[in-house]
């Protein structure tokens, strides 16, 4: 859920931009440091950003009938950690504003605060807690992705309530209004995104175990040297064909 361009009054737009700036700068520093140490991570981080953008093109059937798209910040926070997501999320929001007319430039700060900062941090916290408490990766993933979504939606609603307090009941009344109106789409979406996360990680633990281990999501499995899944620096000897046509190594 992105706040559209021009929707927030100027003072709020500036205020949220200032609030989001330190986190985004911190994320940018983390990225600059990472890239200086391993130049190849530029491409991996770019791939992560592109994946977060593309994830929002996946449509999930929702309980309320309409289909919604996942925000993708939860999965990013679990895979790449919240500081990096603060930057990647902001880049993705900029792309969504300019390529999809989703969100805006003056509301970029407010949207970054809810989607790239609060969402990933809350989601990551929930993921760690739930995973530790249950001892199960998938429980952690469900909690992380659902909470990232919910935290984003709650933050956006509070931002709107702060900008447009109710005429008689003030901020509290406005918060109830916005939370209530957007709950119709956002609460089912959070559950749907949690489920998508479980399905996604179930496939990843089978198909992309080495990558998950490298990212620190899974612990390295003690393996025998014979079936080490990571490629060894020395290339395997090419198969040679013996005289009777049988392929031998």
């Amino acid at each position: 859920m992105h706040i559209a361009e021009g929707f927030l009054p100027p003072a709020h737009a500036i205020g949220w931009t200032i609030a989001a700036a330190p986190f985004v700068v911190h994320g940018a520093r983390a990225v600059v440091k990472e890239v200086r140490e391993n130049p190849e991570s530029t491409l991996l981080l770019g791939a992560a950003g592109a994946f977060t953008f593309v994830l929002s093109a996946i449509k999930l059937p929702s309980v309320t009938g309409s289909s919604s798209h996942p925000t993708g910040t939860g999965v990013g926070a679990i895979l790449f950690r919240p500081p990096v997501m603060a930057l990647l999320g902001t880049v993705v929001l900029l792309f969504q504003a300019l390529l999809l007319a989703h969100g805006g430039l003056t509301t970029l700060g407010a949207n970054a605060f809810s989607m790239a900062i609060v969402g990933p941090w809350a989601g990551y916290g929930a993921y760690r807690l739930a995973r530790k408490a249950s001892g199960n990766l998938l429980v952690g993933v469900f909690a992380g992705m659902a909470v990232a979504d919910l935290a984003t939606y709650v933050t956006t609603s509070l931002q709107l309530a702060l900008a447009f307090p109710d005429a008689s009941s003030g901020f509290a009344g406005a918060a109830v209004k916005f939370l209530g109106v957007f709950a119709v789409t956002q609460v089912p979406l959070a559950i749907a995104e949690g489920l998508l996360g479980v399905l996604l990680f179930r496939v990843l633990t089978v198909n992309a175990r080495p990558e998950l281990e490298r990212l620190g999501v899974l612990e390295r499995r003690p393996v025998d040297e014979d079936d080490d899944p990571t490629p060894t620096p020395t290339p395997a000897p090419a198969p040679t064909t013996s005289t009777d046509g049988e392929v031998t190594r």
Binding site: V32, G46, A47, A50, P61, K177, L196, A208
Partner: protein, 245 residues
């Protein structure tokens, strides 16, 4: 055809060869006007200026522009209505001057949206990103954003192909299957993104990449006439709004 209508429009736009700085000044100027000027007649003038410039001299297809302006409308209308509904002890009702406040919100949002779209539909992302580097955003960050932009289309293409294959195998025939297919789809796109990044990295390393993927930026000359008209136009717009309001 890449699948992102706004990006396609930006590449095909008649304003594509204009300097990025010129277009940014115009669009950001209009965005700021839409935000700070009174909605009547400020937002109307900003919206009108953005639409006329985009469809006229910039030759953006009206269908693309119209559709993109309508996209955030659901959020804008729902948000505006919620903002002007009043909750009090006696129940729910319209706040005083609800229609005016709601209308002002929608007006600001539509005008601002159209002004951002004027930039989005005339300037491809690959022109904007080098401009960010000139604006002293760290090189590494711009680099990551550029890779994101370039991989985006590859991944969208993968997404579409895989989804088509899943659909033709009844992958979305029930809600349960839809979820399963979506999970597999997300996993496939993620592993493909890693694979693409690794292959790009190996290919670039083989060509001697040390730190970054710097390419020669295209030189787009700035036009004094364009800049002068922008400043004059924005000043006239502000003056007209403040006199009328």
């Amino acid at each position: 055809m890449t699948g992102l209508a706004i990006d396609d429009a930006a590449w095909a736009s008649a304003w594509r060869p204009r300097a990025v700085g010129d277009k940014v000044l115009l669009s950001v100027g209009l965005v700021v006007c839409a935000l700070v000027l009174p909605v009547w007649p400020g937002s109307l003038l900003v919206g009108l200026a953005a639409v006329v410039l985009a469809l006229g001299p910039a030759r953006v297809p009206a269908r693309v522009f119209g559709r993109a302006v309508r996209l955030p409308l659901a959020f804008v209308v729902l948000g505006a209505v919620t903002a002007v509904v009043q909750v009090s002890g006696s129940g729910i009702g319209w706040a005083p001057d609800a229609a005016a406040r709601g209308g002002a919100l929608v007006g600001h949002a539509l005008a601002g949206g159209a002004a951002v779209l004027l930039l989005a539909t005339t300037t491809p992302m690959s022109d904007l990103l080098p401009a960010l580097r000139r604006a002293r955003v760290p090189g590494a960050v711009v680099e990551v954003a550029s890779v994101t932009y370039r991989l985006l289309f590859v991944l969208l293409e993968s997404l579409r192909t895989i989804r088509e294959a899943q659909t033709s195998r009844m992958g979305y025939s029930t809600v349960r299957r839809s979820y399963r297919s979506s999970g597999v789809l997300a996993a496939a796109v993620l592993t493909r993104s890693w694979d693409r990044a690794r292959r790009l990295q190996e290919g670039l390393a083989g060509r001697g990449m040390v730190t970054d993927l710097r390419v020669l930026p295209e030189v787009l000359p700035s036009s004094r006439v364009f800049l002068a008209s922008t400043v004059t136009g924005l000043a006239a717009l502000c003056a007209l709004t403040l006199v009328t309001a």
